[in-house]
Symmetry: C2
Subunit: 703 residues, 2 copies
Amino acid sequence: MKYTFVLIGIWLLSFSGLAQELTSPNQDLKMKFSLNENGTPVYQLTYKNQDVIKPSTLGLELKNDDLSLMNSFEIVDTKTSTFDETWEPVWGEQSEIRNHYNELAVTLNQPQKDRKIIIRFRLFDEGLGFRYEFPEQKNLVYFVIKEEHTQFAMAGDHTAFWIPGDYDTQEYDYTTSKLSEISAEFEGALSHNESQEQFSKTGVQTSLMMKSEDGLYINLHEAALKEYSLMNLNLDEENLVFESWLTPDALGNKGFLQAPTTSPWRTIMVSNDATDILASNMTLNLNEPNVIEDTSYIKPIKYIGVWWEMITGKSAWNYTDDLPSIRIGETDFTKAKPNGRHAANTEHVKEYIDFASEHGFDGVLVEGWNQGWEDWYGHSKDFVFDFVTPYPDFDVEEIHNYAASKNVKMIMHHETSGAIRNYERHMDTAYAFMNKYDYPAVKSGYVGNIIPRGEHHYGQWAINHFLYAVQKAADYNIMVNAHEAVRPTGLRRTYPNLIGNESARGTEFQAFGGNKPNHVTILPFTRLIGGPMDYTPGIFEMDISKLNPGNNSHVNSTLANQLALYVTMYSPLQMAADLPENYMRFPDAFQFIKDVAVDWEESKYLEAEPGQYITVARKAKGTNNWFVGNVNGVTPRTTTIKLDFLEKGKKYIATIYADAEDAHYKTNPQAYKITTKTVTSRTKLKLDSAPAGGFAISIIEKK
Amino acid sequence: MKYTFVLIGIWLLSFSGLAQELTSPNQDLKMKFSLNENGTPVYQLTYKNQDVIKPSTLGLELKNDDLSLMNSFEIVDTKTSTFDETWEPVWGEQSEIRNHYNELAVTLNQPQKDRKIIIRFRLFDEGLGFRYEFPEQKNLVYFVIKEEHTQFAMAGDHTAFWIPGDYDTQEYDYTTSKLSEISAEFEGALSHNESQEQFSKTGVQTSLMMKSEDGLYINLHEAALKEYSLMNLNLDEENLVFESWLTPDALGNKGFLQAPTTSPWRTIMVSNDATDILASNMTLNLNEPNVIEDTSYIKPIKYIGVWWEMITGKSAWNYTDDLPSIRIGETDFTKAKPNGRHAANTEHVKEYIDFASEHGFDGVLVEGWNQGWEDWYGHSKDFVFDFVTPYPDFDVEEIHNYAASKNVKMIMHHETSGAIRNYERHMDTAYAFMNKYDYPAVKSGYVGNIIPRGEHHYGQWAINHFLYAVQKAADYNIMVNAHEAVRPTGLRRTYPNLIGNESARGTEFQAFGGNKPNHVTILPFTRLIGGPMDYTPGIFEMDISKLNPGNNSHVNSTLANQLALYVTMYSPLQMAADLPENYMRFPDAFQFIKDVAVDWEESKYLEAEPGQYITVARKAKGTNNWFVGNVNGVTPRTTTIKLDFLEKGKKYIATIYADAEDAHYKTNPQAYKITTKTVTSRTKLKLDSAPAGGFAISIIEKK
């Protein structure tokens, strides 16, 4: 008996000592997995023989567990496999997506506890995804994560495009710095938010974009975040090692798990060409296939909204200024004195409906339509809204009928003020109300601290809610566009009715002091890796004081740049965010917004450099028409793009919306020029982009 | 101008110096209110010129507020009034209730902040109620309570009947000690619970019963606890001053309030006759009138249940022992190996239905009918139950039809495992399921720590939920009997569909090691002050090992005592908790349980001494029949009761279920004797009660 035991021991030991290797389908990426002398899992990753991730340890620290899942492991099984399929998203940047990877699944055992985990690696051509899996077993059933200790050891002091790690908000401007400079830049990278909590001066968020001195583009993020808390990254600045930092609950615990289950995927994308990062579908591919059977109600939307006028302070969400606090169901608004600035009134909404109808928009969002805005944030108020009771000047029925007569859909707005329980209590009624009045989509909001108090926007509790809201919406054939929710991690593949998220610093901040001029050259490399953003582009009047004399904010963008966003910031939900009267001042430029598609057959990422420029071409689904967008950073730039993506032998009319020569985001943002020419697949276009400028091109097949 | 200002100042000052006085309608109670030199509110209370509450301060400490609502007050207004009305409860100990009090409302202002509170006192013949009110105003709208500092300065080192202060459970045996001995007795007063957290070794719960050396009976509790956290009391042992100690949320905050609002009422009952405490309706009277329009579905219930056999360990809630964890909707129980001990199976439930039908019970409760019991507690599991999916061996439809054919109602069971969000998510579906299958009432349960984690059973968050569950149940015409919920504070007046609560150590603990033999002589003075308890009496087999050889617990009660509980422990919901086969062994004694009423015209509290004995007579509603119950403590006792409450000139048949001479709760609990005699209003009955014994009498009008 003893002999046999020793033999097994030796066999296990030698097995453990073996490094497991995996190569990407195109052979560019190689990863190694092994256990170190403590039985701690270690992985590393190279791209064309360059180090991307140096040997980095993996593991989870458990609460009330003397061993945790950190070390003392033995490898008991390894399995490799190859997967290759092509699937069709309900909507997206392209109509077909290839999911091709090589997989290594390592089963590890802790003999002291007789418990197992599996670490599953999937190596795509453009990156690595891996996750922890906790199979069904006797000795690991319910457990509490104290911290996940997944390391990402960087191979150099890369340039990073980062925002401060935070449990509650992503609405920061990006800071570009060396990794070693993060802590020094940290304070300066902060800005106010209604709900925010940082955890470390070397803490940053994912998706984190980096560039090495050798020209490698590296991106760290996660995929398929569901029953887990969100991962931030904390940097060991001396050794340049990132480690996962999960979002805690009210008591500081970082996750309650029940096996069988898995962690989300941790993703590392890498290429020497930045456009590969933009083009990657790895995050989507690491998510489960669509679970919604009837997707007929899920349709991309171009919309306008009674929104920018409140954001700029021109008008108001609330109906009265005379009540220090209100109670839904008790406060009688018919007896309150109107403040005269309430935008969501029937007459005004009808003007928006008229505009939408005239210019071919699918929908009209109206914020501030429902009672509760008098004291909706800053008070940790629980029952803020009931999501169905309009102010006296908003006639739901009349607006519904009017919109229907104009072939326009109304888009619902559910601000929750972070009061999750209250929202869930009213959700069925609110969704049924939407069905009754034919609202196809809801924009939800979670401004302010989460209630239950102590929970965070990115903790397991809230993440469960965000998904619940999407799942329940699916029961009612409703599309969801959630603001201030957790950042997306590709869940749209599984739940394609999740058509949008905010989860970053959007256009609204252009009215709150402005975004950095190169903001939109970074977002596609960071926030958009996980899914589309309701960025609300299309601002034509950059001087906000023209709308509201009390607001001196400036939109740091040229008008042409705003047009380009409809192509560069992919989303199935695109807003024309400015006021109708501002569009009417520039009808020729507005034409692009009217023409541009919102769903695509194919996307070509022509050139990109994070923080500097991005140029993308997309083919509108079901047509032969293309749209091109270029956004530029602060340096004026001339580029030449080849239209070789056009069908050979065909002729197209290209309408080019470009910055005028003297355009500048700060001093002359509305200077644009529109030119038209006939183009073919052999055409090259030489185009100039101003600081924070760009261009947009519609390329319509000549028939 | 200055002259005027000074004049006002002087007037306020002198006004503040005046003590405000209030007297009870019967003149026995007098209270005084004044401000002390710091502008802190002070009150005191006497009963027949004896001190009950010595001068005690009032106030609230606020979070992030440099002044709080503790001092620097001026009296700006006082109003006195008298109220006298009689109202009819939907169900209760009597058919009419008089609500008669004198009121003093003192408006206080803090000049530094220009903010006001009102302290409202209501003085009844049997006690004082007061509360804080926060009227609508500009400078006090949203505020967070750090602690309420309501003091109750005791006039002596009274004997107290107390349980440890706790944020999550009341399921403790009562300790009888001097106030000054509480901390010394504290550790010994603790016992295990699945969820418990004490805060101080001098912390106790309300309702707290005390007796002074002079023979005054004093009771501290609260009334109308709704949007607030529950109050425990913490004793300054040296000065014998109790102070309120609220239940915190996950972050330690004790309440989020929005004016206009109020605190619950703090109540002090006092009399030199203990029966006055039992007879008091003050707690009910301090609650708002019934808000449920259609009360036709609210009916007292006598029921049996598939329950005691699981509590004793004779059978099981769970269906299989083979799964370490399960997931509702994923685990396929049809493929699981049954453990053979699952009590909630169709055939067995039908036996209970037969028994209920044969013996005239209104309902049958079945626990363990729905999937989830394999891992239902101890794991901080969130999605434990869905409240609608039965185990494979429980046929909802068949059982529904069978029960209907026998004129018996099934009683629903919703164990939540403390996972409040999960319950709320399923609540509509679960209540609709009850409507579909004609379940009139639900027993809900909250075993284990509350989820959201960090919240407590008695915090504002959970209290909001418990009321929400009752309100939503009312929408579905459902009655609620909530276990492990917050203790009642008279809310049944406002929501009469709240027909029961546990919120104390019930009969189940007789199978978990036993209750103290005098437990039921204390509960009516403590737990029952706030509302009825689903105590589940009627245990005939005191030796639990007879049901389950592995369980050596003993029921510390005689059989006659068990019968008496149906009268002494008032509840509109009375269970016959023992197994049918045990009732069949004692059919003559069982007859009392079959006969006893559950709704009353009138109640007479004949004699009482907390911890020693209680004798009550109640007249069944709509009849001329009376039922009498006596429960006794550990000392054998002989009592003589006068039947002068019977209608003069009428004859009645009295059936007396008494302890046999050699009865003893420990050694001979099943020794009882039944005698019958004709009685009139002039009859006196001399009766003996054994240790933890008692008697029950049915007095039926002779026609």
